[in-house]
C-alpha cells in the first residue's frame, strides 16, 4: 500500500520565501537559502522574494575573506539549476537602499509592493525571515 502511495500523484504547493535580512550579521539569510534549495529538491513551486534588507543578500562583489565567513552569494546563481526561476525583488526596498538591478548577482523580476502583495496572496505557504 505504501508503495502505491509513493507512486501516486505528487502534491505540489506554492511556496514563497521572503528574505528580509541582510547577509552575515545574522544567520537567517544563509538558513533561508538552504530551505529554498530543500523545497526545490522536492519539486515544489518555489518563489523567492527579496525585500527590506534582504535585497542586500544579492549585492554583487561580496568578498568575505577578511571576516572569516563563507560568501554564499554565488549560490544564488545556482538556483536556476534547481528550477528556481521565480525570483522577485521589491522595488521600494531597492530604491531606499540606493541599489539598482545592475548591482545584483542574478537577474530578477522587480515588483512594486502592490504587485508583491498579489504574489504573496496567491501562495499556499509563505515563509519569511
Amino acid at each position: 500500500m505504501y508503495e502505491e502511495d509513493m507512486d501516486g500523484p505528487e502534491v505540489v504547493k506554492r511556496f514563497c520565501y521572503i528574505n528580509r535580512k541582510a547577509p552575515y550579521g545574522t544567520v537567517y539569510a544563509h538558513e533561508m537559502l538552504e530551505t529554498v534549495l530543500i523545497a526545490a529538491a522536492f519539486e515544489q513551486d518555489v518563489s523567492v522574494v527579496f525585500a527590506d534588507d534582504g535585497v542586500f543578500q544579492l549585492k554583487k562583489n561580496q568578498d568575505t575573506k577578511d571576516i572569516g565567513m563563507k560568501n554564499f552569494s554565488p549560490t544564488f546563481r545556482a538556483l536556476e539549476g534547481y528550477d528556481v526561476e521565480k525570483i522577485y525583488v521589491e522595488k521600494e526596498s531597492m530604491n531606499e537602499r540606493g541599489l539598482t538591478e545592475d548591482d545584483l548577482v542574478i537577474d530578477v523580476e522587480v515588483l512594486d509592493s502592490t504587485q508583491l502583495a498579489d504574489l504573496i496572496d496567491a501562495q499556499d505557504v509563505v515563509i519569511s525571515a
Binding site: K21, A22, Y24, G25, D53, K60, Q62, T64, D66, G98
Partner: protein, 100 residues
C-alpha cells in the same frame, strides 16, 4: 568615548539611539550590519549627515567589503578603517560602548 554600532539603520533604531545618547565629540564606528549606514544613496544617509557635525564617523572596511559595498558611494566625511584602525580607535578613547 568610542561607540560601535553593529545593526542596519534600515532595520533597527540602534544608530538613531546612539546618535541621540552619545555625547557630542564622540567617535562612532560602524561595524557588521552597521556599515550599511555609510551608504550615501540609502535613505538612512540623512540621519548620518545630520549627525556629522557632532561626531567623527568611521566604518570598518572588511565588513563593508564582505557585503559588496566598496563600489557604492559613502557619505562624505566617513573614514574607512581596517582592523588595525579599530584597535587604534579603541586605544585612543578611554572607553568603548557597544550599541547592539
Amino acid at each position: 568615548m568610542l561607540h560601535t554600532v553593529n545593526k542596519s539603520p534600515l532595520e533597527r533604531n540602534t544608530l538613531a539611539s546612539c546618535i541621540r545618547l552619545a555625547k557630542p565629540g564622540s567617535a562612532i564606528l560602524l561595524i557588521e550590519d552597521g556599515v550599511y549606514a555609510a551608504l550615501a544613496d540609502a535613505k538612512s544617509a540623512e540621519l548620518v549627515k545630520s549627525a556629522m557635525k557632532n561626531f567623527n564617523f568611521f566604518v570598518l572596511e572588511p565588513d563593508l567589503r564582505a557585503r559588496g559595498m566598496t563600489d557604492k558611494p559613502l557619505v562624505d566625511g566617513i573614514n574607512s578603517v581596517d582592523y588595525g584602525g579599530f584597535v587604534e580607535l579603541s586605544i585612543e578613547h578611554d572607553a568603548v560602548q557597544s550599541w547592539m
